[in-house]
Amino acid sequence: MSEQDNRMFKIPPHTDDGVLDDGENIVSINDLKRSNERNKDLKNEVVEISLHQANSENIIPYDDLNRLKSQRNDIDTIYSQAVGYEEANSSSQLLETMDRDDIQFYEIIRKPGPVDLDEARRLMVEAHPAYQAHIAEMLNPKKSKKRKKAA
């Protein structure tokens, strides 16, 4: 394959002993093949079940089943060729690639405490204006001095 073809197909860098290296994850080619086979089997199973169900309910005439099935397989192949590699490295598998510490920190970010800030703001907006003014003055002594001078 020429250098141009390599660029065109965006083949990830690989080493001589048959591993793909996307910069962070090392994946064995055999594992990748096995996983693809498993996915293919699962997809076919799903197609079989849904088509069988459709046929038993006389929704789709039986003659159309094989045509639909091959179309479905074509779509799957095109789809996996087009997005398969990118998808494997995207958000859907993010938590799998995060280490334990990262997941812990992510959980803290998601919910830092028992009362969320939106709720706290809502309660403060509803609070008595005098109390609010006291809080604002306490936080911004310079601004309130300026306001006093201006008055």
């Binding site: 970010i109 405490g113 800030l117 403060m124 204006p129 306490m138």
Partner: protein
Amino acid sequence: MSRVLSKAIKLLVGNDTTSESLGKPKKRPFKELTERELIQLESEIGAKLFGPIRPGCRREFFNENKTNWIWYEEWTDESKKVQSTTTRYEIHDKGVLKVQDGKPYVYIKGDELRNLSIAIQKYYEIVMRDIYKRDHVTGEPIN
């Protein structure tokens, strides 16, 4: 006509000004804080979490809503031109997405995720205690 004008001003600048007080601010000792003003107060605390701000620079760091955190930096470059950068951190089910203008969106991890987590914890603790007068662990009001 004055009623229409009053309504328009109210829509533009909120409840602080009436037609009688145009150009002459009305003294309001019990002025209510709006959600926007509360976010500004929070941002004053948030900006200090990352250490001292250099002279001539401006920083904002605040929680915009349940899922978004904003970090804004403004500075003057060598040619005296004001530069700024805004980073939005979006909390998704799958992770924290970092959104910056003109750059590819990425889910953060490692040190960046840790630093953001520490900043958010600190922000939450100080803001809850100083602005909302609530215990950051229990959520109960502080007397």
